[in-house]
């Protein structure tokens, strides 16, 4: 009896996890295996796929500095975006967490509002703002500040702008959750012991909110470095990121084997960032960000 009881108890977490595990296996693990297999196939000049074990794609991807440079460029854009999100997101999260307003829930709702609109449409909205016939140019022209509309779009800066627009709520939510979890008595204790408000922030609030900041940064970095939509919509010809290479290989050139090899590279690079993070910070924080 006791043994079988213990047995059922041990199985219970697995039973609860099984729908999710099934979905992940079917939709993620198995397709990933296919992608790995694909990456060893070869696309002939005729456009057919040659089944087999060829290292050609891998040799090309790993030896051509073109890919390496774009990968580094991608990580740079991801990093800049993350830093901007952190700098802009922290004050916002702080304000929401410690606002004496009764409708904190409303502020959080405002923060979620953009999620109701497709990411692509949100990104495209910048064309109406910064485009040649967009709102900013209209105002500048009406005021006579410029005679001809200025092209502000399709460069690195607008890609970063679009990414910040996309990722900021993730950052704010994560920081907000960790600020919310800090016992207000800690700040009171620091103040009573002689800290000014700023010293108490530096000594207590900031260090205790770092896990949320770290989790938000990880999300922003991984999501930002893995996107191809923002560079397509808001970037110029030279602003393609690594995911755009994959998009080109698969959709434009129909070179599935090469695209697969590139996908695996991106997966490994971003995956190692996540693993490194996990080593030093608990990833449990991230899940809290969605609670």
């Amino acid at each position: 009896m006791a043994v079988s009881d213990a047995h059922t108890r041990d199985m219970r977490p697995w039973a609860l996890l099984s729908p999710a595990l099934t979905a992940i296996t079917l939709l993620l693990a198995i397709p990933t295996c296919f992608v790995i297999v694909y990456s060893f196939w070869l696309r002939t000049a005729a456009g057919d796929e040659q089944v087999g074990f060829y290292l050609d794609n891998w040799i090309e991807v790993l030896s051509d500095p073109f890919y390496r440079d774009i990968l580094l460029y991608t990580l740079k854009i991801g990093l800049i975006t993350t830093v901007c999100c952190a700098l802009m997101g922290y004050p916002a999260a702080y304000f929401i967490a410690f606002s004496k307003m009764r409708n904190k829930a409303f502020l959080l709702l405002l923060l979620m509002l953009p999620f109701w609109i497709s990411y692509i449409i949100r990104t495209m909205s910048w064309i109406n703002i910064l485009g040649v016939s967009g709102a900013v140019n209209y105002v500048l022209q009406s005021l006579g500040i410029v005679a001809e509309p200025i092209q502000m779009l399709y460069n690195e800066a607008t890609v970063i702008l679009g990414l910040i627009h996309f990722l900021l709520p993730f950052m704010v939510l994560n920081i907000y959750v960790s600020l919310e979890g800090i016992d207000p008595n800690l700040n009171a204790a620091a103040r009573s012991l002689g800290s000014t408000p700023f010293q108490a922030f530096r000594e207590v609030t900031l260090p205790l909110s770092l896990p949320g900041l770290a989790a938000g940064s990880l999300l922003c970095f991984v999501l930002g470095s893995g996107t191809y939509i923002t560079p397509i919509v808001l970037g110029g010809p030279g602003d393609g990121m690594f995911a755009n290479l994959i998009y080109d290989a698969i959709i434009t050139q129909l070179n599935w084997p090469l695209g697969s090899a590139l996908s695996i590279v991106l997966l490994i690079v971003l995956g190692s960032v996540v693993l490194l993070y996990n080593r030093y910070l608990s990833l449990g924080q991230i899940s809290k960000g969605f609670g």
């Binding site: 008595n185 204790a189 103040r191 009573s192 012991l193 002689g194």
Partner: protein, 380 residues
């Protein structure tokens, strides 16, 4: 700048202090002195304003009205970090990301203390709370009782003018609580530090304090030594809040030789001593309190005592408590509770008994502070 009008002998003075949250008044016109070096306890039921008052003294909450003075100096506009107070929170509020040493040394960073002196002071504080070996641990690795001691060490190491404690023992289990109570009192006496302690536990309040402040609905019902508030409750609220009391209504029939003859409504007469500063006038309607442990039961008529009244009664229920028992006794139209030590056997249900009530144990009550104030406000 000590204001000569105010006695700097008082560690804390509250004058007409009011706290409102919107339309709700949490603390009404409060006046209080905390003598230097004394241990003052705020006690009262949940929501009576104890924490709010403490937070106003600490500077964590602004007083809506009135003056708060610490060592004679008005501090209403002094920010919390300049008040030099030690606060111990109910949940300890140790910094989870700092070691025990860093926690205790925290307040010294903001004081002109060099490294060596700081080290010495932290050691002494940890010695005082009897936890000298945990410096390198973090709070999570400590038990609740240990965390509480560290919180105390952190608060006293800065040599605060006043130590403020908000239900510091309530998160501990019963045994540890008892132990910490003795410990806290020892440390307080050793340092001679002026202390305000908040609790809703009456035995804690009575055991530890030089002065007990009984609060209800934002009013001070009574302040005094533990003996005063226990034996001479000023109002029905205090009589009921501290221990078990029998409350009666009656009329003063005669006063002679410092003893009042009191006729209870449709009942017997009692003799009572008017409490200090509470004169009884003939014909006055009064409320009286007699503590349950001051109703002495016996089988036969006890020896004659001119300053006592003896009633005949019958035990209707017995609540056996070990060394003592609580009896419900019917005496004519009255039902009383009596807590008596058990001699050999407790009285049993249905047993006829004599009840002896001494004049010195009959207390004339005032109206409850919060009720009379409310009535006054309604009349205006």
């Amino acid at each position: 700048m000590a204001d000569p009008q105010h006695d700097p002998q008082h560690a804390v003075e509250l004058r007409n202090v009011v706290k409102r949250f919107g339309a709700f008044t949490a603390v009404h016109a409060m006046d209080l002195n905390v003598e230097r070096g004394s241990f003052v306890t705020f006690v009262g039921p949940s929501g009576c304003g104890k924490t709010t008052t403490l937070r106003m003294i600490a500077g964590l909450e602004d007083a809506t009205d009135g003056d708060i003075r610490i060592k004679g100096q008005r501090v209403n506009d002094v920010p919390i970090h300049k008040r030099n107070l030690g606060i111990v929170f109910q949940n300890y509020a140790l910094f989870p990301h700092k070691t025990i040493y860093e926690n205790v040394a925290f307040g010294l960073k903001y004081r002109a203390v060099d490294r060596e002196t700081a080290r010495k002071k932290v050691r002494e504080a940890l010695q005082l709370v009897q936890l000298p070996h945990l410096e390198e641990r973090v709070p999570k690795q400590l038990s609740g009782g240990q965390q509480q001691r560290i919180a105390l060490a952190r608060a006293i190491v800065i040599e605060p003018d006043v130590l403020l404690l908000d239900e510091p023992l309530s998160a501990l289990d019963a045994n540890l609580r008892e132990e910490m109570r003795v410990e806290l009192k020892r440390i307080q006496r050793e340092l001679g530090i002026s202390t305000i302690f908040v609790t809703h536990d009456q035995s804690e309040a009575l055991a530890m304090s030089d002065k007990v402040v009984v609060m209800s609905e934002g009013w001070i019902e009574q302040e005094g030594t533990p003996e005063q508030v226990y034996n001479q409750p000023a109002s029905e609220f205090v009589a009921n809040f501290l221990g078990i009391s029998n409350i009666f209504s009656g009329q003063v029939q005669a006063v002679s030789g410092g003893i009042a003859r009191l006729g209870l409504d449709d009942g017997p007469e009692l003799l009572g001593h008017p409490r200090d500063g509470r004169a009884a006038r003939q014909g006055e309607r009064v409320r009286l309190a007699v503590r349950a442990e001051k109703v002495f039961l016996s089988e036969s008529a006890p020896s004659d005592d001119p300053a006592a009244v003896v009633l005949d009664g019958k035990v209707t229920a017995v609540d056996y408590q070990g060394q003592a028992a609580r009896y419900f006794v019917e005496a004519g139209p009255l039902t009383l509770q009596a807590i008596n030590p058990i001699d050999r056997r407790p009285f049993h249900e249905g047993q006829p008994v004599k009840l002896r009530i001494r004049a010195q144990d009959v207390v004339l009550l005032d109206a409850d502070a919060h009720q009379s104030a409310a009535a006054k406000a309604a009349a205006e």
